[in-house]
């Protein structure tokens, strides 16, 4: 018997780590991975809340999140490959042609 808030705390930590990764990592693939990390954190909170409210829909949402994550991974990695072809770099700081 442990308080649910622990799980939520864990998911929060994971999410924060994901955001931090997004902020401090330069490699676009790593950044992408930190997005996945955030998604996982959210999934954990989903499951935890499902346990709190005894509603399975929380776990069902996890599946949807996973599906979206898979789709996103496919498209995102394809984009990364395309970007690498044109820019020949994976460093997001070098992929900023919008800049003045």
């Amino acid at each position: 018997m442990i308080p649910l808030s622990y799980y939520l705390l864990l998911s929060g930590i994971l999410f924060a780590c994901g955001v931090l990764g997004f902020l401090i990592k330069r490699n676009i693939i790593t950044i992408f991975m930190s997005i996945e990390l955030m998604l996982n954190g959210v999934n954990l909170s989903f499951v935890a809340f499902a346990a709190q409210w005894h509603a399975l829909s929380g776990q069902v949402f996890v599946f949807f999140v996973m599906v979206v994550a898979a789709a996103e991974a496919a498209v995102g990695l394809a984009i990364i490959i395309a970007v690498y072809r044109t820019r020949e770099t994976l460093n997001v700081d070098r992929v900023n042609l919008l800049k003045l």
């Binding site: 018997m1 442990i2 649910l4 808030s5 622990y6 799980y7 705390l9 864990l10 929060g12 994971l14 924060a16 780590c17 994901g18 955001v19 931090l20 902020l23 401090i24 990592k25 490699n27 693939i29 790593t30 991975m33 930190s34 996945e36 990390l37 996982n40 999934n43 954990l44 499951v47 499902a50 346990a51 709190q52 005894h54 399975l56 829909s57 776990q59 069902v60 996890v62 599946f63 949807f64 996973m66 599906v67 979206v68 994550a69 898979a70 789709a71 991974a73 496919a74 498209v75 990695l77 394809a78 984009i79 990364i80 490959i81 395309a82 072809r85 994976l90 460093n91 700081d93 070098r94």
Partner: protein, 190 residues
């Protein structure tokens, strides 16, 4: 007690993996640590009773998505990331923002009086029940998501396969000569 121990075990792996993801400079290490995070998250799910979710987490996330990542890293032969100072904003505004937000959330979570406690295997996510939910109550979202997947597949194919890839072989994804190139340039990925 056992619950707390297991939770802490998996949780530690999770956090360690997450931090390692940030700490590692080589994407492949980040990827592996992320796999570790996901696997241990599956353990957390099991603790919460969502065994089906746990299994799918391992199969889909660890087994499929992360494989995609690893393959991509191998293909693009991503080396150590260079420490460019691209964005002051991210460091000066973003990081503090994240920390503040995290601290606030943690504070709220820990100071909620009505936060209930859960036993081990709190809510048993039996596959049949989940399937019933998925194919009755959430049928429409399910179908929509399938369409989303389809679109994603097409988008990925269109994006990743380019006609001029033949014209510039060293930029194209598949093909033996390309891989040779990859490995030739792949002398220094540490």
């Amino acid at each position: 007690m056992l619950h707390l121990i297991l939770f802490l075990f998996f949780g530690t792996i999770c956090v360690a993996g997450a931090i390692n993801l940030l700490a590692q400079s080589h994407p492949i290490n980040s990827a592996l640590s992320l796999i570790a995070v996901m696997a241990s998250l599956a353990g957390e799910y099991l603790l919460l009773g969502a065994e089906f979710v746990a299994a799918v987490q391992v199969i889909v996330y660890a087994g499929a998505i992360m494989v995609l990542f690893v393959i991509t890293i191998m293909l693009l032969n991503a080396g150590k990331e260079e420490r460019t100072q691209g964005s002051r904003v991210a460091i000066l505004i973003g990081v503090p923002g994240v920390l503040i937000g995290g601290v606030l959330v943690a504070w709220t979570l820990l100071h909620r009086p009505d936060m209930q406690t859960v036993p081990i295997g709190a809510l048993k996510g039996d596959p049949s029940d989940i399937a019933r939910l998925l194919f009755h109550d959430f049928l429409l979202p399910f179908e929509v998501t399938s369409v989303l997947i389809l679109i994603a597949i097409m988008g990925a194919v269109v994006l990743a396969s380019r006609p001029e890839a033949i014209a510039r072989p060293h930029r194209s994804t598949p093909g033996p000569q390309e891989t040779r190139e990859l490995v030739a340039t792949g002398k220094d990925h540490r």
